[in-house]
Symmetry: C2
Subunit: 76 residues, 2 copies
Amino acid sequence: MNNSRNTDLLKKFGANLKRLRESKGLSQEELCFKSGLSKNQIGNIERGEVNTTISTLAAIGLALELPASDLLKFDI
Amino acid sequence: MNNSRNTDLLKKFGANLKRLRESKGLSQEELCFKSGLSKNQIGNIERGEVNTTISTLAAIGLALELPASDLLKFDI
């Protein structure tokens, strides 16, 4: 996958995560607390600056009480 | 997410990927060719030895002609 396409993917993932987090009424701090991730990590992920791994994805899904697959339900 | 749970997650992801790849009638070599990943990467992922990233997940989904979210549809 070329670089610009990859950057686009990560930005879309981050925007989708933010949408899901807000739909659950959670702040970034609350998601950090529930997922065990740092505030920096959540912020970087939502800005599309991090190529998140499966285990981080699973931790976020659990924290949002959503199937991890939902985090990838956007137009890739 | 603690280590043993993480290892379990990655093994389940790998087994699910292998199941999906075989359901598409693709060998590891064919998946490598279609996804642009190396044979080593595919083998390591299917054995649960790699914490795959979102961009790799998206490349595999495209190669399997499946939504990337399907790659995470297993009992996490």
